[in-house]
């Protein structure tokens, strides 16, 4: 069962195609990363998912039905461009934004206070937002996004401009919410975070989805089939092995490409069986970063 299905979304601005037939699915209980370069169409896609922009084409399906106001009440949204009412007091801001989502009462107030405490700004609850530092204002914004206990969390570039401590706090919250069974969708151009946090991703470039699926599968798919080998002995038997695609001799080392990434273990076994002395055997798993560079660095159009 998918929590959210994005089908064929397109959006033009003044004839420029910002998002071009984007389709992907977000499974229940997943942390979903929408990754891509700056200007790739991440924010536009997210705004369409939030029903802030009406798509030119396509639709967003929430558990079988098209999204509407009901969805807005279930979402906690952290936009890329942060902003709050500068003259409003911290606690008032939080309660106001929660009320817009239909949550009022003592419980919300208590919860707001707990979050403020956790973020170490409880003593500022009656300060005006403009008196807070930028980092603290960002904290307020995170709290506003999660305070009404939404089923979906949509964060647009949540890590942009954050110091390491706040980054960790935010990561903690994301993982905590995941443990509670919430669906978390975030966009980022920082591959490290996407790789560490998400279990499903979609990669967008020039408005098109160029890669999507579970992170594990994608990595397996893109795992390098190249093994760097430094060994002593006769390696001619490798040419005869069925799973080896190509052997290149670089002098000091050899580059071996197997047909499937999983066959690197067989390669190692074969080397040992043939009494080759192995000094270095490097079959590194590929990082999302490398996949991103490989795909987005080239000219798009590479779809799974």
């Amino acid at each position: 069962m998918y929590a959210l299905e994005v089908k064929n979304l397109s959006k033009n601005f003044n004839g420029i195609r910002a998002v071009d037939h984007a389709s992907f699915t977000v499974p229940e209980g997943s942390v979903f990363g929408l990754i891509g370069r700056n200007g790739a169409g991440k924010t536009t896609t997210i705004r369409m998912m939030m029903n802030i922009y009406v798509p030119d084409n396509g639709e967003v399906i929430l558990r079988g039905t098209k999204i509407g106001q009901e969805f807005k009440n279930k979402v906690g949204y952290l936009p890329e461009e942060r902003g709050l009412y500068k003259k409003m007091k911290v606690l008032d801001t939080l309660l106001f934004l929660a009320e817009l989502k239909g949550k009022t009462g003592k419980d919300v107030e208590k919860k707001a206070y707990e979050y403020l405490k956790r973020f170490d700004i409880a003593d500022r609850k009656n300060s005006k937002v403009e008196d807070l530092s930028k980092g603290n204002q960002q904290k307020i914004q995170f709290i506003a996004a999660v305070l009404h206990d939404p089923e979906f969390l949509i964060f647009d570039e949540p890590f942009a401009g954050l110091d390491p401590i706040n980054t960790d706090l935010l990561k903690d919250i994301i993982l905590e919410k995941k443990a509670e069974g919430k669906v978390i969708i975030f966009s980022t151009h920082l591959m490290d975070f996407a790789e560490k946090l998400s279990d499903h991703i979609a990669m967008i470039d020039h408005g098109k989805i160029i890669l999507k699926g579970s992170l594990g599968e994608i990595k397996t798919q893109f795992a390098q089939r190249n093994v760097t080998l430094e060994a002593e002995g006769d390696l001619s038997f490798l040419d005869r092995a069925g799973f080896v695609e190509k052997v290149e001799n670089f002098g000091n080392s050899f580059g071996v490409r197997v047909k499937e990434a999983s066959q690197t273990q067989e390669l190692l076994k074969l080397l040992v069986q043939n009494n080759v002395r192995v000094n270095k055997f490097a079959a590194n798993e590929i990082s999302l970063h490398e996949i991103f560079i490989t795909l987005a660095g080239k000219d798009s159009n590479i779809v799974k």
Binding site: R47, M50, N51, V54, Q69, P79, K86, L97, L100, I154
Partner: protein, 397 residues
């Protein structure tokens, strides 16, 4: 722009002068009545020497009438006065020969333009008759220096004939100023708040909870209700004044004002707020800083300022053509009509027509404003061109 500003300023000044001086006497038909045949003859003689004017022809009918029969006569011609077949009745009693007090009965007793044309003739007659065969004392000289004094009596659909004080003129000024000031003030405030939400980016957070139309509607309705409450408080002294006998006004300030007038004024203010706040909010959504917004705001200011001048200029004659026309013109009606209704009786059908026009304008503005607003509030960065804004109407946001 630098060169346009002075042109614009002169244009405004010229327009203001024109509107305040603009007065037209359409063809008027006046009944001149007096107890004395001699007065009538002299007045007739004097009036016949009045230069024929290009902007309107005044016709007279002369009528010898005892003071006791005046009321009878007035009730006979009431319908004709209300239908404007007879512009008014001037009654010169014998008393006028001593104090120059002349009574004027009309639907529009404040028509100074018309009265100022006849005053000299009547004044001359009264002065001449007073001085025939007399030595002059100081008192007499004083009399001679006095111009004739017209006391206006309003003929309205009510049976009563009320002496017209300057109370309603003051009230009409007051209403016009209140409307003008509060529309501009509330409008600017709404625009600033939209610009702030847009420029400090909170609008996207709000849009994750509500739609842009809800956001705009909420803002406008909310501000309008606050504005309405504020206005109700401001005019509450008037409510107390007309509904209680706690305060007694000197006769020259007597108000002809009913609760319906005040209710109409408040209703009209509410519609005006929604209409103009819609425009102000739209301008706010187009620009992301107050400096840029100034260039977008002046067309809206004109929609308030020009009717304001018309309403002020109308005080000398609330039945002039510009006033009549603009009280049915979208936007202008909202400011001119409340002032006019304070000065003269407006037929119910006209009132209903203006209400329909105003509500239609409001709905139209709301729809158009919504279309620009939803696009505008999410666009930041460079100042958009007007041609781009027009394209926003077609956007599928």
């Amino acid at each position: 722009m630098t060169l346009l500003i002075p042109l614009f300023m002169f244009g405004i000044l010229g327009l203001q002068t024109f509107l305040i001086q603009y007065t037209d006497v359409e063809n008027a038909f006046l009944v001149v009545a007096s107890e004395s045949q001699k007065v009538l003859d002299n007045v007739q003689d004097e009036l016949s020497r009045m230069p024929k004017n290009q902007d309107g022809n005044i016709e007279f009918m002369f009528d010898k009438l005892e003071k006791q029969k005046l009321e009878q006569r007035l009730s006979n011609i009431r319908t004709q006065i209300l239908e404007e077949k007879i512009t008014g009745l001037i009654y010169i009693s014998d008393q006028a020969l001593k104090n120059k007090k002349v009574e004027y009965y009309s639907k529009n007793p404040n028509n100074n333009v018309l009265l100022n044309k006849i005053k000299p003739s009547i004044n001359k007659v009264l002065t001449d008759m007073f001085f025939v065969g007399r030595q002059l004392s100081t008192e007499e000289l004083e009399f001679a220096k006095n111009n004739v004094d017209f006391n206006g009596f309003r003929i309205s659909a009510d049976k009563e004939i009320v002496e017209e004080g300057i109370g309603n003129t003051i009230l009409s000024f007051l209403f016009t100023f209140l409307l003008y000031m509060s529309l501009l003030f509330t409008g600017q405030m709404t625009m600033t708040s939209v610009i702030e939400e847009k420029s400090n980016k909170i609008v996207e957070v709000l849009l994750s909870s509500v739609s842009s139309r809800e956001l705009m509607t909420g803002k406008i309705i909310g501000t309008s209700i606050t504005g309405l409450a504020q206005m109700a408080i401001w005019i509450s002294p008037l409510i107390i004044l007309i509904s209680t006998t706690w305060f007694v006004l000197p006769p020259e300030f007597t108000l002809k004002l009913s609760m319906w007038h005040l209710l109409f004024f408040l209703y009209n203010y509410f519609i005006a707020l929604i209409t103009f706040l819609g425009l102000f909010a739209t301008v706010g959504s187009i620009f992301d800083n107050p400096q840029d917004a100034q260039s977008g705001i002046w067309p809206i200011m004109m929609l308030i300022i020009i009717p304001f001048f018309i309403a002020i200029g109308m005080q000398t004659n609330p039945e002039n053509q510009i006033a009549r026309f603009t009280s049915f013109f979208p936007f202008a009606s909202l400011i001119v009509m409340p002032a006019r209704i304070t000065l003269v009786d407006i037929p119910l059908a006209h009132l209903i027509l203006s209400i329909i026009i105003n509500i239609a304008t409001m709905v139209l503005i709301f729809i158009l404003a919504g279309k620009i607003y939803r696009v505008g509030i999410l666009i930041t960065g460079k100042k958009p061109k007007w041609s781009e804004v027009v394209k926003w109407f077609k956007y599928n946001y």
